[in-house]
């Protein structure tokens, strides 16, 4: 009766014995013998029809690795009854005592064999047990523990990233130091940036303004910071040529920074009087309201030159096509891969991806900034070599020439 696939389970035997004991006790001790007899029979029949669910096996609890603390991983082997379709869920119980006070802390489906218990105090011993159940039935694993959580000071899954950062920082610092020492550094031509001088000159000759757009991102976006760095160099040129520079902003913090940058650039060129605060102004945060505002400026002011630098979204093409329709020279620079085709199509020159970040150093020609650029290129070379080695290793591993992919740890993540 209790055999399951030819094996006799000790727990099920215990359950069966308990039912028989209950029936015997009821027969001899119950005052209403007839009634008790029928209850005992019903219990025995029930046990015969549906034996108790087997609890999950091999429950294990450990402190969660690489976490901020207050977390414990609870793992278990599935209950043997999962295969028979008798388990609906697992419940996880926790207590600070091994015998009492167990409270449910989690519930997962029968396909899960792991639960992360979070929110407890570090350094306190906890005990766990896991039950497998269906409907009202539930059977418990033995109590496991004690285990306590603790915070970790290093995320070991990010050590590969840390190594890469150290190499990167070393390369940048080395080349910046070399540049400070007067070493000549070669930087390839960027036609889009070479054209900035001509574009400012053209605007001066035509007596028309230059429109500088830094996109919709906030100050926390590195692309916006790169755009602000370029704005400083452009503002120096407009101050020198006495050309009007219009900068409509989509973010108030960006606006405040850009006002300061343009003001300082004008002061540095000895033209503080030429700076007009109303030319660096806030428009709106709303994407297409911003587009409407900027397009209106383009159509009314007909700027000789438009520069798009920073992060752009769906508005890029609407802006660039309107700029092209009013006959402006357009130079764009963005790291938004999806917007690059639109700018390449509609603008005269486009800085692609990393060229946006190189622009400030390229325009200023400051040796220290060029050193940083050189360091960046060196790391790119290292990344390129690693990529080629990785491709070779993965190909050899896939074709069975070598047994293990020795490059795998380099791109392993948590």
């Amino acid at each position: 009766m209790f055999a399951d696939k030819g094996r006799l389970s000790a727990e099920r035997l215990n359950t069966g014995l308990a039912v028989v004991s209950f029936a015997v006790a009821a027969l001899f001790l119950c005052p209403a013998a007839a009634l008790c007899q029928s209850e005992a029979e019903a219990a025995a029949d029930s046990a015969a029809v549906a034996p108790a669910i087997a609890p999950p096996a091999s429950v294990d609890v450990v402190d969660t690795d690489n976490d901020r603390g207050g977390q414990i991983d609870v793992m278990w082997e599935p209950s043997p009854d999962v295969e028979l379709g008798r388990v609906e869920f697992y419940r996880i119980y926790r207590s600070t005592h091994p015998d009492t006070g167990f409270a449910q802390v989690g519930r997962v489906g029968y396909t899960q064999t792991q639960y992360v218990d979070a929110g407890m105090e570090d350094g306190i011993d906890h005990y766990y047990r896991v039950s497998a159940g269906a409907g009202e039935d539930e059977s418990f694993s033995p109590v496991i523990g004690p285990v306590s959580s603790r915070p970790h000071w290093i995320d070991k899954t990010r050590i590969n990233c840390l190594v890469a950062v150290v190499i990167f920082v070393t390369a940048i610092v080395y080349f910046v130091t070399s540049a400070r020492g007067g070493k000549e550094l070669f930087i390839r031509r960027l036609p889009g940036l070479d054209e900035v001088d001509n574009a400012v000159g053209r605007a001066t000759e035509m007596g028309k303004p230059i429109l500088y757009i830094t996109g919709l991102s906030g100050i926390s976006d590195v692309a916006t910071i790169a755009a602000i760095n370029i704005l400083g160099e452009v503002a120096k040129k407009t101050a020198e040529y006495n050309t009007r520079l219009i900068v409509p902003c989509a973010d108030p913090i960006v606006m405040a920074v850009e006002q300061e940058v343009v003001k300082e650039a004008y002061a540095e060129m000895g033209r503080p009087d030429a700076y007009n605060e109303d030319d660096v102004f806030y428009l709106t945060r709303s994407q297409f309201a911003y587009v409407a505002g900027v397009n209106g400026i383009m159509v009314r002011q007909r700027p000789a030159t438009i520069l798009y630098m920073g992060m752009f979204y769906a508005e890029s093409l609407v802006l660039a096509e309107t700029g092209a329709s009013v006959g402006s020279i357009q130079i764009a620079g963005t790291d938004a891969v999806t917007q690059l085709p639109f700018f390449i199509t509609s603008c005269d020159y486009t800085l692609i991806g990393e060229e946006l970040y190189a622009a400030s150093a390229y325009l200023s020609r400051e040796p220290v900034l060029l050193g940083g650029l050189k360091g960046q290129d060196t790391v790119k070379l290292i990344v390129g070599i690693l990529l080629i080695l990785g491709v070779i290793a993965a190909t050899l591993a896939a074709t069975g020439v070598i047994e293990t992919n020795f490059m795998a740890p380099l791109y392993a993540t948590s």
């Binding site: 950062v165 940048i172 590195v222 940058v261 994407q287 309201a289 199509t345 990344v383």
Partner: protein
């Protein structure tokens, strides 16, 4: 001193935000969350700055009788109307409130109209891009034609290999180029951030020493 304090603050917070990525300890994580909350507080004040700038610019245009001052009247009227509607109703976000009605029936349709212009601009940009004047433009034209045909049922009817060619173009040369750009962008971002944190790049402060 005027430059040293911002540089020092930039270094301290920049270095902290970089280091915290490798330290999961709750004391460090709590500090990071607190700093991000400060950023939110700063943003709330910044909006006031933006509103003041908006009013000032348009007020100056009206006062100086600029040619395009008619737009300034409209902008200021819109701004003041929405602020007023926000104040007269206790819960301005409630459906049916005057503020909500104006937002849903004026601003949303206008923005949708602006967005829909994109379709026409894509057509005009595509026309310009696909003129086969150079080898690169011709390659672009051929690739675009294959991809467009491969994305619609008629492509499969013309030739069963067109959808496969489309998939190959998107998954091999296109994806490889995108990844190449993204690797460069990632390194460029890191280099820029590092130069700012170390005080090498100072253009964001207006340049100078």
């Amino acid at each position: 001193m005027r430059r040293q304090i911002p540089l020092a603050l930039c270094f301290i917070f920049g270095a902290f935000m970089a280091i915290q990525y490798f330290i999961p300890h709750h004391s460090v994580a709590d500090m990071q969350e607190r700093i991000l909350m400060w950023l939110q507080t700063l943003l709330a004040f910044a909006f006031l700055l933006g509103t003041v700038s908006l009013i000032k610019v348009h007020y100056h245009k009206i006062r100086n009788r600029a040619d395009d001052r008619a737009y300034s009247y409209v902008a200021l009227a819109g701004l003041l109307t929405m602020i007023g509607l926000g104040f007269i109703h206790p819960d301005h976000n409630l459906p049916g409130s005057p503020f909500s009605l104006m937002f849903l029936n004026v601003q949303v349709p206008i923005e949708a109209t602006m967005f829909s212009l994109l379709a026409f601009y894509i057509a005009s940009a595509a026309f310009r891009a696909f003129r086969a004047r150079t080898l690169e433009a011709t390659l672009l034209l051929v690739a675009a034609a294959i991809v467009m045909l491969g994305r619609v049922p008629i492509g499969d009817l013309i030739h069963e290999g067109i959808p496969d060619a489309t998939r190959w173009i998107l998954e091999v040369p296109n994806l490889a180029s995108k990844r190449g750009v993204m690797i460069g962008v990632g390194l460029g971002m890191m280099a820029t951030a590092l130069k700012i944190v170390l005080g090498i790049e100072r253009a964001w402060m207006g340049g100078g020493d």
